[in-house]
């Protein structure tokens, strides 16, 4: 049933109730991974490589095993040596050999922080002592950190069996370039020749971490019959179960994964790091094992997103019509193949109707932690380059930057350069809302003689659907329990409860939602890709509809009339018409009370593979002040406009938009991994890895544009990823407006801005 068409006056969807997990979180009662304890528990800790690239000659664990209090020590030899096998599971293509070797190094350590052994001991102190007693002999190898260095023919090779895919002739020598990606539409080379104006640039972005507040943590236990329970914070309990089973060679049915509250993931918790090690340690020690990363370990050993080098070129006619576009993207994958270069190639120009496009991408391994997904993986870097070039084009043509984007913006029927045609999208409406915003219409004023500027940039993300399960149970008193398989990161329990309440016609406070473990709800893919409200929401909606059908049936039994003669409205059963009979309406509680007499418990579970997630578009406006003396950039005002389909819970949609913008501003201005000459990270902590904090940012105004997605019952689109795509472009364009300098190297931190100002002054003086 499609409620956006048949039920225009929604009673619950679109309102702002208090989130059901709110009290637990503000009172500290919520149980996160690090809060979990089990009786008899011991502590697991990881020994990590100090070298960026080294052959592991030997690992001697004998001294550690003799230390009193040590219960188990493991190395890669305690895990199956998995052959290369790529499968698309959960969040993307996964090679289980690589995943296994990322969890614990086999033969070679490929980055500083790479796990080489792990111990379980009666206390953290004993575990630390044991780590010191593990004797690892390394043969240190030359390393390579940056993406273009790794692509050079003479670069140190990480994997002897890695040959560049998708190039002709087929390579005979191994390379750090794992694959080439190519998309083309029309004839870009010819179209550039006909362009009146061409802009181009070369942009670099630093690897940045998802920087979730909660470090990775888990507690596991393994019974003597092989049945295991994993308690952990992740973006998918079914992902944890599947990956652990694969890496350990166990049956999936022997692992029950229980999702705990999660303190942020942003894509970085769509993988396992500790859980397989903890299970192996628990099996050997016979004791429950707890493991949790320090912040330093999170930085050194869990996935950031790619650092990149991107070249972009755009050609247009004098009237502003873009006739050709080209982009070359080089993305670091970290120690194993699998950067998000492919979506990067697809997203940069996806917002625009351009007849001739050529995009080439390279996936490149280097001696850094293997990258993990990060909100709209691959898109922010690509859009930073494209949106900067578009700003240059607007300046060159003397066209308003929003008008230029409107003129070339994707609309109904626009064919993308990667193939599909856009339908039911809201990009032009988003641009119009930006243009009509108070922010855009308010002239920018200089403050105390400082350099101020305004920039705008846009962003796109596909959004996805996928496999989800949702169950709705009517309790004996008429209250309702909703169980879904999706870990709640952005308020999804509230959204699930609201959609169920809307369908059932009951107040939302009568619906209590929970996240089920792998044994209590059907398979559900990870919380990622902005899929939960769309896909799991669809499952919960359909399960609620199943409950309504049962409620009508039960009322029919009570009234002794056919089920089709019963209507369900506003939480009550009514006779469908006068011919059905004259009966007082029955509400949900009255029917639930007699459930045992009318067929038993009333519940419904739906598992589905949701298709047709509608893409999302955003447009961000940013005002900055640049201190030419220090290079400090201050965000004065920030507005984020986004097509959200239908906002199920507007506050959480606004929260997603604000959070994505804040993370993108950090990416733009301050965040980066700093390596020394040995390939060791020098800033693995929040003091030196500078994320924006509340005092760094103004209130980020979120403007929601609602262009419904016709393939979701309430019109919802994913909203979690689009807002991190535009900020780097918006901030860069604002800085360009303020000081007349195009910053092409992220982060645009004070030293870089100051250097750019000095260089500009030097050029002007010369």
């Amino acid at each position: 049933m499609n409620y956006i068409v048949s039920k225009p006056e929604l009673k619950v969807v679109g309102t702002r109730p208090v989130r059901p997990d709110g009290v637990d979180k503000v009172t500290g009662r919520a149980t996160f991974g690090a809060d979990m304890v089990l009786p008899g528990m011991v502590w697991g800790k990881v020994k990590r490589s100090p070298h960026a690239h080294a052959r592991i000659v030997s690992i001697d664990t004998s001294k550690a095993l003799k230390l009193p209090g040590v219960k188990a020590v493991i190395t890669a030899e305690d895990f199956p040596n998995i052959a290369s096998e790529e499968a698309f599971v959960g969040e993307g293509p996964m090679n289980f050999r690589d995943l296994s070797r990322n969890c614990i190094a086999r033969d070679k350590a490929l980055y500083e922080g790479h796990a080489v052994a792990a111990v379980a001991a009666i206390s953290q102190a004993v575990a630390d002592q044991a780590l010191d007693l593990i004797d690892v002999t390394y043969e240190v190898l030359p390393h390579v950190i940056d993406v273009e260095d790794a692509m050079r023919p003479d670069a140190p090779i990480l994997h002897d069996d890695l040959f560049t895919a998708n190039v002709e002739p087929k390579p005979t020598k191994p390379s750090n370039v794992s694959k080439r990606v190519y998309f083309a539409k029309g004839d870009a080379a010819r179209a550039f020749a006909s362009a009146d104006v061409v802009v181009e640039g070369r942009y670099t972005t630093a690897p940045v971490h998802q920087a979730y507040l909660e470090p990775h943590a888990c507690v596991v236990q393994v019974a003597s019959d092989g049945q295991a329970i994993v308690y952990s914070s992740s973006q998918g309990q079914f992902m944890v179960r599947a990956y652990c089973a694969k890496l350990l060679g166990w049956d999936i049915a022997n692992i029950r994964a229980v999702p705990l509250e999660i303190g942020g993931g942003f894509g970085g918790k769509t993988l396992v790091y500790l859980e397989p090690l903890a299970l192996a340690l628990a099996q050997r020690s016979g004791r429950p094992v707890k493991m949790q990363m320090t912040r330093e370990e999170v930085f050194r050993a869990s996935g950031p997103t790619s650092g990149t080098v991107i070249e972009v070129k755009i050609g247009a006619r004098r009237d502003g019509t873009i006739v050709a576009a080209r982009e070359v993207l080089k993305y670091q994958a970290g120690a194993f193949p699998g950067s998000p270069v492919q979506p990067g190639c697809m997203c940069g120009f996806a917002m625009y109707d351009i007849a001739n496009v050529e995009v080439i991408g390279y996936d490149v391994v280097s001696n850094r932690p293997k990258v993990a997904a990060y909100r709209a993986p691959g898109a922010p870097m690509s859009s930073y380059a494209v949106e900067s070039a578009l700003d240059d084009l607007a300046r060159k043509l003397r066209i308003d930057p929003i008008v230029l984007r409107e003129q070339n913006g994707a609309r109904e029927g626009t064919k993308t350069h990667y193939g599909p045609t856009h339908h039911n999208i809201g990009f032009l409406q988003t641009l119009e809302a930006a243009k009509q915003s108070e922010h855009w219409k308010t002239p920018l004023k200089a403050r105390n003689g400082g350099a101020v500027g305004r920039g705008i940039a846009c962003g796109f993300w596909f959004n996805i659907g996928g496999e989800s399960s949702g169950a709705v149970h009517v309790n004996e008193d008429g209250s309702v329990s909703v169980v879904s398989g999706s870990p709640d990161i952005g308020g999804s329990r509230a959204s699930m409860a609201m959609m169920a309440a809307e369908v059932l016609g009951v107040p939302v406070d009568k619906v209590r939602p929970i996240v089920g473990d792998t044994s209590s709800i059907g398979f559900t893919h990870v919380t990622g890709g902005s899929r939960v409200t769309f896909a799991t929401g669809m499952a919960v909606t359909q399960a609620s509809e199943g409950v309504v059908e049962q409620l009508k049936n039960r009322a029919a039994q009570i009234w002794e009339i056919p089920p089709e003669a019963v209507d369900w409205r506003d939480g009550k059963a009514y006779p469908a018409g006068s011919n059905a009979g004259a009966f007082e309406p029955l509400d949900l509680a009255e029917i639930a009370l007699r459930a045992g007499k009318t067929g038993g418990p009333i519940s419904s579970e739906v598992s589905l593979n949701a298709q047709g997630a509608g893409p999302g578009f955003g447009a961000h406006i940013c005002d900055v002040e640049v201190d030419r003396e220090t290079g400090q950039v201050t965000i004065l005002r920030y507005t984020a406009v986004q097509d959200v389909g239908k906002a199920i819970h507007p506050s959480y949609v606004e929260g997603q938009i604000q959070g994505g913008a804040a993370q993108g501003i950090g990416w733009a201005l301050n965040e980066e991994y700093i390596y020394n000459a040995k390939g060791q990270m020098e800033n693995p902590g929040f003091l030196d890895y500078r994320c924006p904090v509340a005092s760094d940012l103004p209130l980020i105004e979120a403007i929601m544009v609602e262009v419904p997605n016709p393939r979701h019952p309430f019109g919802a689109r994913g909203v979690g990823e689009v807002p991190i795509v535009p900020p780097m472009g918006a901030v860069g364009n604002a800085i360009r407006d303020a000081i007349g300098i195009r910053m092409t190297d992220l982060p645009m931190s004070p030293p870089k801005v100051r250097a750019a100002v000095d260089a500009d002054n030097g050029q002007k003086a010369a």
């Binding site: 998708n166 997904a373 350069h417 990667y418 193939g419 045609t421 596909f462 593979n609 298709q611």
Partner: protein
Amino acid sequence: MPRVIFSGTAANRFTGGRTEIDVAATTFRRLVKELDERFPGLGSQVEEGMAVAIDGVIYQDAYGAPLSEGAEIYLIPKIAGG
């Protein structure tokens, strides 16, 4: 007939450079089988690692997705997220 259009690298690897192919298949499942029969390896490549966009709507892992007469089908990389 539905038409399959390749915009990425699959065309070079499997179809000898042909970028547009008319197919008789009426569902995604049948499309996979037909592609594998005509271009060995392509069907399994599509099934394991690709999504389809049928008249603009992206389907991932959907055997039953219908291919109407004249449908425009793009094979694209599967999309994940963060």
